[in-house]
């Protein structure tokens, strides 16, 4: 994958060089399309497929000031074996934590195939000097993070300083080294779908491996129209350059039904190729148990009490 070079200072519109068309988004039609895709009726085998896929693509997340090694260790076990009673349930894709908890997660997950993702760059606000953000990323990588979830500087973006946003993504990407970079746009603060599309293309041009909707700290977060808007940008980049960029929906996805709707969106926008943890992630904390409950219902025909699912 070609890495975008840093641009000379004062170059304000870096996208034109890489993408012919930034384009625009019509909010009414976008929301209508998202709503119509949300009405897809996913039943039986197709539902089981979706639910298992949702587990395989989940970044099981805890991002609280009160996180402790004990809490993270418990969550790691859950990510490896979401349902102790049913070994056929797949593992989650990753655990997503603050940098301080990366070593705990790393140790606990060793050999399991479940990745460790760390949020960095002054998460969740991103209102810190660039050099601190880069240092934050470097230390998270040194602590053993496989993936870095960075936030863009929304203050810079909304005031039109796109080059600053772009430069930071480029520098963070460089600091990531081998680690995968997910760029969080915090779409709930961007205000318009045009901005969401612009920020998506900006992050991709800067070298993002994944674009991600939200931190989970701001409402609204991963709404269906926002996800569709970003997926369409990812599709355009793929069609124009061949680059495959991943997408992560995070924030506000609590029910299995929502997860299935998100997966339908990806399926019908980017196709089956994107239905893999390499290119798609769902960031969630409380979603997993609802999926497990739905899966058990599909298998046994009856709903079980929440007491039969572990709280971690």
């Amino acid at each position: 994958m070609a890495q975008a070079p840093a641009l000379p200072a004062g170059f304000e519109l870096p996208l034109e060089l890489r993408l012919l068309r930034i384009g625009s988004v019509d909010a009414v039609a976008l929301e209508e399309r998202a709503a119509s895709l949300a009405k897809r009726s996913i039943k039986k085998d197709a539902k089981v497929f979706a639910l298992e896929l949702a587990i395989r693509t989940t970044d099981l997340t805890t991002l609280e000031g009160s996180d402790t090694p004990g809490k993270v260790a418990a969550l790691c076990s859950k990510a490896i074996r979401p349902d102790p009673g049913d070994p056929s349930i797949p593992s989650c894709a990753a655990i997503c934590v603050y940098p301080n908890l990366v070593p705990t997660a790393r140790e606990r997950l060793a050999g399991s195939g479940v990745k460790v993702a760390a949020v960095a760059t002054g998460f969740p606000s991103g209102q810190y000097p660039t050099k601190l953000k880069v240092a934050d990323v470097r230390s998270a990588v040194e602590l053993g993070a496989d993936e870095i979830d960075m936030v863009i500087d929304r203050g810079a973006f909304l005031s039109g300083r796109y080059a600053k946003v772009y430069d930071e993504v480029v520098q963070v990407k460089e600091a990531c080294g081998e680690a995968h970079l997910k760029v969080i746009l915090e779409t709930g603060e961007l205000g318009t779908y045009d901005n969401v599309r612009r920020a998506t293309l900006l992050a991709i041009a800067g070298g993002a491996d994944f674009v991600k909707t939200s931190t989970g700290k701001v409402n609204p977060a991963a709404t269906l129209p926002v996800a569709l808007c970003m997926l369409e940008a990812v599709r355009d980049v793929h069609e124009e350059t061949g680059r495959r960029i991943g997408f992560k929906a995070a924030g506000g996805i609590r029910q299995a039904k929502q997860a299935v709707q998100h997966l339908v969106l990806v399926h019908e926008t980017l196709g089956s190729d994107w239905l893999t943890p390499d290119l798609y992630r769902l960031g969630a904390s409380s979603l997993l148990n609802d999926i497990l409950m739905q899966l058990r219902k599909e298998r046994t025909g009856v709903y079980q009490s929440p007491d039969y699912f572990t709280l971690d």
């Binding site: 988004v25 009405k39 897809r40 039943k43 076990s77 490896i80 195939g113």
Partner: protein, 491 residues
């Protein structure tokens, strides 16, 4: 990591996601084996009958009457009697009560009607459920509101009902067109003889049950089923005061000839060949959605369908690429499946007409694209089709196909777009896609079409008048304008 955690086997992960069938249940719909004509509040036994089928499976759904001149005569007599015996002199607020009741009953029974509409007409259940039924109910609600306000709608003109209205409706939106016709006619105090389309009479017949539930006085609405002969007998009948017809331009012209000099009022809503004009500054992905909705909605059986795509040359290539990719995700099949996007062609006759025009397009030299899709063996099906490289002179750019077939043409400047869009005998609708508000207004002033949609397509509302220019007909349905064809004004 503990041992038990380590033991997880990693079986091959499936990659292809096929949606399982999700059919809407047919159990809600209880059809009788045989239907007569609904005249004077009851059923009369037809002299002659024919079978009505499901176009997606070719199974017979019911036997219905082939209306004769005598049947029509009885229906007109019943309507005349109901007009004279109270309906026309009923206070508007009383008429409104019936209309509100009908609207509510339609909402209550909407699932049942939606399933039957898809069964008898072939349209996807998601459309009959989310478009046809809500709009039909909305139309009754809307005109119920006008029934007691006619004096204010036409101040100082003393509006009065016409008498008996003969209404002939098409097969593309059977129940919705019934609502478009009945609601304003009844609100204005007329009585009606309605003839549903030959291939799709069932929702109109089921609707008679709603009329009985609503306790509408006998004879106010009469339904006579049958083919074109029944329609002709109705138009010819001396006892009617007004004809409202929605259907093909050819039949519309013959009706107009027949009515010349008789003094009967007439409104026609006929064919179209709408241009969907896409400028290079539009929101591209949403324009693609609009194009798809414009032509593949209801299998293209829409008189205002955006069957000509006029793409600005600077955007033509990526637009067509995106469109083709989008077509590959369209799900064609069982109309009752909740995930179906494109259903069955309404009849064998229509399928033949579409096939004939598509062949003509190929011969004329247009380039055809159809996404790979497996069509069911039984029933009438046609894959979503796009023609590129189409010249203005080709038949597929001139004639109404009334099927899921899009012809793509290009233009360079807004002036050229207007010229090409207007260069057709029709003028029912048009679409403009641009982010520039001033250009939308500039275009709308110049497009000779009854409806101009901006950054959307095929969007309807009972408050918005609908109707055509040129060979697309005259008279307006919907809105305040939709009342006028059902009223006379005492000076």
């Amino acid at each position: 990591m503990t041992d038990i955690e380590r033991k997880r086997d990693r079986t091959a992960v499936p990659t292809d996601w096929t949606y399982a069938p999700a059919p809407e249940s047919r159990d809600l719909v209880r059809l009788r084996e045989r239907y007569g004509h609904f005249v004077g509040g009851g059923w009369i036994e037809p002299a002659d009958t024919y079978a009505t089928i499901s176009p997606s499976t070719e199974e017979t759904l019911a036997t219905v009457g082939q209306g004769t001149a005598e049947d029509v005569d009885r229906a007109v007599a019943a309507a005349r009697a109901a007009f004279a015996n109270g309906w026309s002199s009923l206070p508007g607020s009383e008429r409104a009560k019936y209309l509100f009741r009908i609207a509510r009953l339609l909402q209550e029974r909407s699932r049942e009607f939606a399933v039957l509409e898809s069964l008898n007409g072939g349209k996807p259940i998601k459309e009959s459920r989310d478009v046809d039924l809500p709009l039909a109910a909305a139309h009754f609600f809307y005109y119920a509101g006008w029934a007691d306000k006619l004096e204010y709608a036409f101040p100082n003109r003393r509006p009065a009902p016409l008498g008996v209205a003969a209404q002939i409706i098409p097969w593309n939106f059977p129940l919705l067109m019934l609502a478009w016709k009945l609601a304003p006619a009844l609100a204005c105090g007329n009585t009606v003889v309605l003839k549903p389309a030959e291939t799709t009479p069932l929702t109109a017949l089921l609707f008679c049950d709603v009329l009985r539930q609503a306790e509408l006085p006998p004879g106010v609405v009469n339904v006579v089923t049958g083919d074109g002969r029944t329609g002709a007998a109705l138009v010819e009948h001396d006892g009617i005061d007004k004809v409202a017809f929605t259907g093909s331009t050819e039949v519309g012209k013959s009706i107009q000839r027949q009515l010349a000099g008789t003094g009967k009022k007439l409104t026609l809503e006929l064919g179209g060949k709408a241009a969907n004009i896409v400028f290079d500054d539009c929101a591209l992905d949403q324009a693609v959605e609009g194009i798809v909705n414009g032509i593949y909605f209801n299998q293209g059986h829409v008189c205002c369908a955006g069957s000509r795509l006029l793409a600005q040359e600077s955007i033509h290539e990526p637009l067509v690429e995106k469109l083709k990719k989008r077509l590959e995700t369209l799900r064609v099949g069982d109309p009752l499946d909740k995930n179906t996007d494109v259903g069955a062609i309404n009849s064998k006759l229509q399928l033949e007409r579409i096939t004939e025009l598509v062949e003509a397009g190929k011969e004329e030299g247009a380039e055809i694209f159809q996404p790979p899709c497996r069509l069911p063996e039984k029933g009438y099906w046609f894959a979503p089709t796009v023609f590129t490289n189409v010249a203005q002179s080709y038949r597929i750019a001139q004639e109404e196909i009334f099927g899921p077939v899009l012809s793509v043409l290009t233009f360079r400047t807004p002036e050229e777009a207007v010229e090409k869009a207007n260069n057709t005998p029709y003028g029912l609708s048009a679409g403009v896609w641009t982010e520039k508000g001033s250009r939308i207004l500039w275009m709308a002033q110049r497009l000779r079409a009854g409806v101009v949609w901006a950054n959307t397509f095929n969007r309807f509302d009972p408050a918005s008048p609908f109707g055509g220019y040129k060979e697309s007909g005259f008279g307006r349905e919907g809105g305040l304008h939709g009342l006028e064809p059902y009223l006379r004004f005492e000076e």
